[in-house]
């Protein structure tokens, strides 16, 4: 056996022993950081099950005694936190805005990816440029516009803009449309399908993973949105969950156990959504391509 081969073998076995040492260390590190990461969340759950007088004890109490499941009932039935109504408002806001985003962004993305028309590439550059505009410069005139229209106080300002597309999702969906083979469009055309039909019944189903990413991101964003509803809504009965939770906090500052229960209830739908869409989430981010 040559010297080089021996050296190679030695270094390989060295790497193997190194791996045997490194792997557990890596786990230790990961789980250590993960533990710190998850403690706040655990504390949220623990606090939500405590009687109020056990929220701040010295030393901290890790297991509530007794475990008060009824905190959840109390939180949701609290007059300051009308859960049913808040949930309905949140669903309305997030749902309609997401429907709008899905329809408008997929149509526009298809236009950019699959149709030839004069000035298309210039418009696309404009689209990319608009992604750089921070929301803060458009916030005040947009508010004024909606005020003039008499829409302030209702959901229209939060929902209507979604029906006019948003640059990031258009960009994302366009990348997907571009990756589909042209033969599909051609054969549909030969079969006499109109453009809308080709779009709706052939192309759209094929980009479903990307559409899912846009839908999930938009739903998440609107569900968690605080500033939008804060600016446009003033009537309690129209508040979504995020604003309701805040109102609850200002009203019942000391009821930490109920506040934590309510916080968890507001978070759970997003957790379910994330778990359901996790794979597409990560895939979608990968395919968006930071380098493109």
């Amino acid at each position: 056996m040559s010297v080089e081969a021996l050296a190679l073998r030695r270094s390989r076995s060295g790497a193997r022993t190194a791996k045997r040492v490194v792997a557990p260390l890596r786990h230790l590190l990961l789980s250590g950081v993960a533990l710190i990461w998850v403690i706040p969340f655990l504390w949220l759950i623990i606090t939500s099950l405590k009687p109020l007088e056990q929220v701040f004890t010295r030393p901290p109490k890790w297991i509530p005694e007794p475990i008060l499941w009824r905190n959840y009932i109390d939180a949701l039935n609290n007059p300051g936190f009308n859960f049913g109504r808040l949930l309905r408002n949140s669903m309305l806001y997030s749902g309609l805005s997401t429907v709008g985003t899905a329809i408008s962004c997929s149509l526009v993305a298809y236009g950019f990816a699959r149709m030839r028309f004069w000035g298309r590439d210039v418009w696309f550059v404009v689209l990319l440029a608009t992604m750089m505009i921070p929301g803060v410069v458009t916030m005040i005139p947009t508010y004024v516009l909606f005020r003039v229209l008499g829409w302030v106080g209702g959901y229209a300002p939060l929902i209507v803009p979604a029906f006019f597309g948003s640059a990031f999702y258009i960009f994302l969906l366009r990348q997907f449309f571009l990756s589909l083979p042209w033969e599909l469009t051609e054969s549909a055309r030969v079969d006499g399908a109109g453009e809308l039909r080709t779009f709706g019944s052939i192309m759209l189903p094929l980009i479903r993973p990307a559409l899912m990413v846009a839908v999930v991101f938009n739903f998440l964003g609107t569900w968690n949105d605080f500033m939008g509803p804060l600016i446009y809504l003033s009537d309690n009965s129209k508040f979504p969950l995020s604003l309701g939770l805040y109102a609850f906090q200002t009203k019942y500052q000391r009821d930490w156990h109920l506040m934590m229960a309510a916080s968890l209830v507001v978070t759970i739908p997003m957790m379910i959504l994330f778990f359901a869409a996790q794979r597409q989430f990560i895939e979608g981010i990968t395919i968006t391509g930071m380098k493109a």
């Binding site: 890596r26 701040f56 410069v137 906090q249 978070t267």
Partner: protein, 332 residues
Amino acid sequence: MIEAEAQARAGVPTDRARLGQRRARLLRQNVKGYAFISPWIIGLLVFSAYPVLASFYFSFTKYTVLKPPVWIGVANYANMVTQDPVYWKSVSNTLYYGLISVPLGLAFSLFLALVLNQAVVGIGVYRTVYYLPAIMPPVAATLLWMLLLDPGNGLVNSGLRSLGIGRPPGWFSEAAWAKPALIIMSLWGSGGTMLIFLAGLKDIPKTYYEAAEIDGASAWYRLLNITLPLLTPVIFFNLIMGIIGSFGVFTSAYIAGGSSSGGGYGPGGTAGGPLDSMLMYMLLLYRNAFRYFEMGYASAMAVTMFVAILSLTLVLLKTSGRWVYYEAAVPS
């Protein structure tokens, strides 16, 4: 196309009709194309172009919504930088927050992504754990941290006391510790950045590592000479997004700043915390726009922030050539 033109020039009679058909088809194509993108074009005009221009215009006016705007020249800008007692406070708060939270957040999420990118058993669980705070509604996350960082017997201070620290920080209720508290909170929520790093890491071709390994390159060498250079575009992207995000920090400051001191401060959430230590730029802007309805003044603040973000991005873009590495033609 060239053929059709040549034939047309040659004067073949039937081709003129064909050319007319072609024109008609082109026109139809254009109309259809614009029909598809029309929602976005309308949106661009109404929700981007008009507001940006109007923002600039409003910033030179006194405008309280109820009466039409009155032109006052640069008075808003002048007042902002010379008269407003809290303007510079909000600028320095925001810079303090950004200068610490952005680099820390980048380093931490990159570190997590690097560790998570290895083949580790149970990676899905780890990924979920780190990402969870990023999907939590900011209102809920802020309330949770107000509980954890309670100066009295909050979990964090209880822990610090048991470590022998007699007088732990007052966090949201103490001017010196309010911003660090916000930064800790933002770090907890940096899972989104981590995910983007992770996606970037997955994009690096495995063959590079295999080649380096055969050449006997150490893990440290591989990190410094393969991973980091190839990841610079993603680092750059996250840096810009982080800066923009830190400039716009609002919800956490609004909630924690408004009620940290037992409601002794002004109405609702625009209080800014103890000694205005959490009065962030966006908070002051919001206060001027939607509490005082000083839309002109708030527009001036918005335009200034826009210009600041834009120039910072341009400077970074200009200097990025020196450290951001773009693959020229590497087959993937």
